[in-house]
Subunit: 220 residues, 2 copies
DNA sequence: CGCGGTTTTGACCTGAGTCAAGCCGGGTGG
DNA sequence: CCACCCGGCTTGACTCAGGTCAAAACCGCG
């Protein structure tokens, strides 16, 4: 497959879009913290690209248990479906701007094949992440999951200057992503701090990875 | 995307392949129980389709913990990679026959676009399964994981006549897929049997789903 | 009928969950 | 400018689902 896994061409702060020969007015939308972008079961008429901010896609069991499938950062594509409806809900984590693409756009392989290829690449990347996540959820301890998650996030958020990354999501979100409880996440993070592997800002939302080697060792 | 999620055109016992205009001699290969089809880290020169039998793709942590990513049944495509190497190993569960496709075949969008589309569809399906699996691993109890797994397998193995499906894999494999231990799998299966939700053959490898409603309720 | 691998069962242990307070920081209004 | 609130984070004490270790039991097979 000719899919290039190079960094997504529309990274972080690139709201402008090059779009084939015919100018498609791409709809750009904004959402406030916690707002729903689409719900589980909605008709999948669009798929999206994050322009700025962070999006979480998640599913909720009837009894309230929640699993956050993934966090999508600036440049990431999400909401692509094989069937006709969204199998996950999507919500803004903090302030978010996204571009909505009409799903049918994917049908035309002509002209805008570039977008189609990008989507294919994004899908493959999503699959790779999902597989990584399965490893975490299936076989790793709480401590290992946190270490792995932080490293992964650090890789993806290039912006964070000098090893310090700002976590856009709450502890609860992290817990629901890693299959843990808030308390466990809190305890593990604190423990990693005590052990000197990471350092936390006073508001506890910025993390500096002080000992990547040790973290990577935990990541296994 | 024009991907049709209809049942894969080359299902179960269909070794013959229709392949565009130029006849490509597709390599068909056989493997015995436990044999390795490719290893984690191998150059990804081929991807595969299961002709008969079951394949497991898995990853092993340095300390020996194993996570089985997925089981691939007849008709399934596996081993498609975004990068240049396989990020999972693949092994035969019992006797297996597969067709190996040269990876470059995907490059030509011409002629054989059909295969390319099939791969795209397979990728999307794999992603959907991975997401289902994350839900299981992240938020479900042992009992629920087993129920969910059995239902899923029953759906995919149409062959199993009248609700009775033969599990091709060992308890250990199931455990490593569901993030449990052999003992837990065994206990849960036995419990489901005692509770009358399932019935087991004397060799404990065939399962009849006696109360799908209850199982589905567990699946949530 | 004995053998070897898989599955099951039992007794015990522990990592993470649960429940219940505190704590801290940031935002508001007096 | 500061006292107060409120939601998210942390901490502590206790519980429990599932893991661990060890031993049968079972099935299929030669």
């Amino acid at each position: 497959m000719q899919i290039a896994l190079a960094p997504a061409p529309y990274a972080s702060g690139t709201p402008s879009l090059r779009i084939g020969t015919t100018p498609h007015p791409e709809t750009q939308r904004s959402f406030g913290a916690g707002e729903e972008i689409f719900a589980e079961g909605d008709r999948a008429r669009f798929f999206y690209r994050v322009v700025s901010g962070t999006v979480r896609t998640c599913r909720i069991l009837p009894d309230g248990r929640r699993q956050i499938d993934a966090f999508h950062l600036a440049g990431d594509i999400f909401g692509v479906e094989a069937g006709t409806e969204h199998r996950f809900g999507a919500e803004a984590v903090g302030e978010v701007r996204v571009i909505a693409y009409r799903r049918e756009r994917m049908l035309l392989t002509g002209d805008d094949g570039a977008l189609a290829q990008e989507v294919a690449a994004a899908t493959l990347r999503a699959l790779a992440r999902a597989q990584e996540q399965m490893m975490r959820l299936g076989r790793k301890s709480a401590r290992e999951r946190i270490a792995s998650f932080l490293l992964d996030l650090a890789d993806r958020m290039t912006d964070g200057m000098a090893g310090s990354l700002r976590l856009p999501m709450s502890r609860t979100d992290i817990a629901d992503h890693l299959g843990l409880t808030v308390e466990s996440v809190s305890r593990c993070v604190t423990q990693l701090e005590r052990d000197g592997l990471i350092a936390l800002s006073p508001d506890r939302h910025s993390v500096r990875l002080r000992d990547r080697a040790a973290l990577r060792h935990l990541d296994a």
